[in-house]
Amino acid sequence: MRWLLVIVIAIANTLSDLLNTVGMRRHGEVHHFHPTAMGRLVAALVRNPFVIGGVVAMAIAFFALLALLSITDISFAIPATAASYLVETVLAKYMLKEHVSYKRWIGAALVAVGVLLVSF
């Protein structure tokens, strides 16, 4: 059961990150964090279909995470959800057309191995 939840979380998280990135690109850069500016940001984002999709996927991941947290301790739950690191980097390169330099690959690989170790 807990691994099923982990798989649901990984897929929903990946989808959520991709949709949010596309949505935020369309939105444009955010530089202001005054409460009023954050209010306007939220008002703009609730009309952004990519961000809405991203948030729905995130909500699915979130409820699955709550369920997972209720049956295991957080040191298992959090790292186990990080399985999607390299997959997301590959998707960022090919779907989002980001330039992933060798430093970034090395960094992402180290992080992925690190996250795997942390979940032991």
Binding site: T21, M58, A67, D73, S75, S101, V111, V118
Partner: protein, 153 residues
């Protein structure tokens, strides 16, 4: 700065949620009702508030940097979470976990040296600037405060 805020709120959110859900007990359900009941737990409520703030900062980060940059860099969450559960929840952190923490730090420093945004400018529409911030990067005159400005490319 933004990375720090996103990481801190994520860690605090996870931490409070972990505390709250262990107090609340086991829930695995496809119905939303037990989850809604869990929201009444003050720890879970605090965790959700932290997560809402985290989301705003995470989305702002994504508006300014690549996903392949944001993702590894915000994995500092995985460094802080075991450290916090060691300190506050007395969970055991093994040697293997410490090794993992070290590798994550190495990876983050490697990614941190790359340019945060590599996607060509043509992919991005004009940036919508939200005024009224007291951010130092803000170069606006006080009189500009009430209207949105758009940067053309």
């Amino acid at each position: 700065m933004l990375v720090g805020l996103a990481v801190i709120f994520n860690v605090l959110g996870n931490f409070f949620l972990g505390l709250g859900m262990q107090e609340f007990g086991r829930v695995v359900s496809f119905s939303p009702l037990p989850y809604l009941a869990a929201f009444l737990n003050p720890w879970v409520g605090a965790g959700i508030a932290m997560m809402a703030l985290w989301m705003i900062f995470q989305l702002s980060l994504l508006s300014r940097a690549d996903l392949s940059f944001v993702l590894p860099v915000t994995s500092l969450t995985y460094v802080l979470t075991p450290i916090m559960s060691r300190i506050f929840l007395d969970e055991h952190v093994s040697v293997i976990r410490w090794a993992g923490i070290f590798l994550i730090c190495l990876g983050v420093s490697a990614v941190g040296r790359t340019t945060p945004r590599t996607t060509p400018a043509s992919v991005h529409p004009p940036a919508v600037v939200y005024p009224l911030g007291d951010d130092v990067e803000d170069e606006m005159a006080p009189g500009d405060c009430d209207r949105d400005r758009e940067h053309s490319q």
